[in-house]
Symmetry: C2
Subunit: 431 residues, 2 copies
């Protein structure tokens, strides 16, 4: 049998530990599938003495993970440290510079520095595996870089953050409010103590930036991405959306619109009849519009030890098999700077909730503003019968220009009957 | 840029033509993704003069496709001829013998001769791409051979035949009977003039045999597979299944049960609340139970020019990139002969429809037989009130041994109130 693929594993948190477990447990079949044994040479973590429920005594210990980059007895560095800067970045750069492959789950690192790292990899004959960075339970990087490689990919739609999808599902099922559900999710281990990255959409935004780069052959451009999380969503929104036949999903959308990139990461309302509308709990799903395929949809549990470690393993096995694919599907030097579309000029149907005082004339005022902005109402519900009190008005529109919706929202705020920030969401269906 | 990958395309039907179209249309981006140009060197088909809506004048014409196998200016033979024997088999064998890679959509060929071809490929340093053979619109071969390669795969469930799924959906939506819907499907181009391969489950059986080989590291064993098609399904079954909260799906099931292979291809009833229960129309879906992943499900349109040609392209690009994976995920010599489980000893919940004469005592007779076979009824519906006429009795059971169900069905046939063959289906939920 061929020489082993020699691994250095930097970071022994949940995922790093999961990878070690799989390599130990499935050693025999893994070497058959990979065509060569997978051999862990050294490991590194913050705390050597921590009990991890795995035996690491056979492996060298590196106090400084970056030292792995200069060891000549390692082929692949598995970077499980995390963070877009600092140690993870230094380790990735130095490993690639010395011609080592890297495997990583680090979406932040790649969303911010993906282009530079891709160039570094190619200049040094190395490859970057990052299946685990996006929806670990779904082989979406492989599907897009390889499976759909014969297609012109025109759009990507994804439910990319399990925590948010779990919370939105819980809010719908229990009627609970955002803050209560967040607390429960934290207690259940589905949300971090500091949930910012998840609920403000940053994590999903990183993932969208990577999928979009593969789909369109562009440099990942996280900084230009418009991101909105789910903090603003109320149980009222969930309820009314349901009444209109919709569910609220934190959606990543990247579309090629006449050569320009339309890309947003924000809560949208999606018909229940839509394949993405029925993805619930901690599940992720990604749909890619392709010119030869029809609605390929991949679904799976996105995060946690098992799925993420499984995705890392798939990259390790690919590297053992000698597979080298450009990081974003085409050579780094061919990646273009994305040209962004003017969001104001994009069109969509919309969901709008206004908190208004239940006074005579309020609907007349609102509908006059909509009319003046050329916005056509598709459905409208106002149910409160509590004169003088705050009640929600919820409406859906026909296809409307985004700029017109924003203008209308500005004007609503000038009405003294509108008492809170309007909640505006795109109604999205798969193409 | 590197040397082109040189292709011979044998067979210019819908899919072969589709492949040529994609290579012509996307030449530029394909060469970036593949790392080298894709160059069609020669083509072959039954009729040279047929109008195919593509320009093939730049390619050599081979009267005899098998001649491609001995050309030394070809790296990959794209076998689009079809059939498990004859020309397709000869071309595949001779191509592999001469060290050429093959790409094929030919599930029959691989289901019958997969092991021998896999050995031939490995002995000659060649590879076999067959993404298009199973659910073209879903990169399931890639997902299983590569994406899930870090997992112990314990079961595969698939809706693998678009024609059958379309017909079952139509029957449910229109209430139409099997023969009428078949005729409509033929007129709409969703079913062949001779629909045997599809509706008798042979096509889906071929596909299941391949997925099962990858999942369990066994030689494909189509001949031992128990197959039942959808001819027996009536609109009554569809209606009653719906009433119990189920839909009828032609399901391929392969499970590792304590080292033995439980494998069937037959109509099953699946809860509507199950991810496979909502897969409708010509869509395919495959779920693979993995030890590290949770319910990864891949969905997409299974057949037709676009999806199948797209899958062929993904194999071609893999080969251009130099990817060589053993045909069934591990070296052919490591593939085991599957040891089949005794189906009679497997357990399941069941759906049973009996056509009975509406006479006093009929339910007593039936329930006595069930009791004597230790079968516990979960639900039962008899609605006819037409004394002396034929009415359906539909029931579902709790977990029951298959042999006991078969024995009960034998005994039902001995009752003079039971007027037709019992319709028995497993109730299947994903693990």
């Amino acid at each position: 049998m061929a020489e082993p693929l020699r691994l250095g594993i930097a970071g022994l948190g949940t995922v790093g530990t999961g990878v070690v477990k799989i390599i130990q447990k499935h050693a025999d079949v893994l070497s058959k599938r990979a065509g060569r044994p997978l051999k862990i040479v050294c490991v590194s973590a913050r705390d050597r003495t921590k009990n991890r429920d795995i035996d690491i005594s056979d492996y060298d210990w590196e106090e400084d993970a970056v030292a792995m980059a200069s060891r000549d007895d390692i082929d692949t560095v598995v970077e499980m440290i995390g963070g877009s800067e600092g140690l993870a970045k230094e380790l990735a750069e130095k490993s690639l510079q010395s011609g080592k492959n890297i495997v990583t789950a680090n979406k932040a690192l790649l969303a911010h520095h993906g282009f530079e790292l891709a160039k570094l990899a190619e200049d040094n004959g190395a490859s970057i595996g990052y299946e685990a960075a996006v929806a670990g339970g779904i082989p979406i990087i492989k599907a897009m870089r390889e499976g759909f490689a014969g297609n012109d990919m025109t759009a990507v739609y994804g439910i990319l953050n399990g925590t948010c999808n779990y919370m939105l599902t819980q809010m719908r099922e229990t009627g609970g409010d955002f803050n209560d559900i967040l607390k429960e999710a934290q207690e259940a281990g589905y949300a971090e103590a500091d949930p910012t990255f998840d609920i403000d959409g940053i994590d999903a935004g990183h993932k969208l930036a990577l999928l979009s780069a593969i789909a369109f052959g562009t440099k990942p451009d996280f900084d230009s991405l418009k991101i909105k999380g789910i903090r603003q969503i109320t149980s009222t929104d969930i309820e009314y959306a349901e009444e209109f036949g919709y569910r609220i999903k934190l959606l990543g959308i990247a579309r090629n619109e006449g050569g320009k990139l339309m890309q947003v990461l924000e809560p949208c309302v999606v018909p229940v009849s839509n394949p993405l509308g029925v993805i619930e709990d901690v599940y992720n799903a990604v749909y890619v519009a392709c010119d030869s395929l029809e609605t390929p949809l991949l679904t799976g549990k996105g995060a946690g030890e098992g799925p993420t470690a499984s995705a890392v393993m798939s990259d390790i096995i690919d590297q053992a098999r000698g597979l080298k694919i450009p990081t974003f599907g085409i050579p780094a030097n061919d990646l273009k700077d994305p040209e962004w579309t003017d969001l104001g000029q994009t069109s969509s149907r919309y969901y709008l909730r206004l908190a208004v005082l239940d006074k005579p004339g309020v609907i007349a005022d609102i509908s006059a503003i909509l009319r003046d902005q050329h916005i056509s109402i598709e459905g409208l519900v106002q149910r409160g019968r509590d004169p003088g009190q705050e009640v929600p008005i919820v409406l859906t529109t026909h296809e409307t220009k985004h700029a017109d919706m924003l203008k209308a929202c500005e004007l609503f705020k000038g009405l003294d009957t509108v008492v809170d920030e309007p909640c505006l969401m795109r109604i999205e269906e798969l193409e």
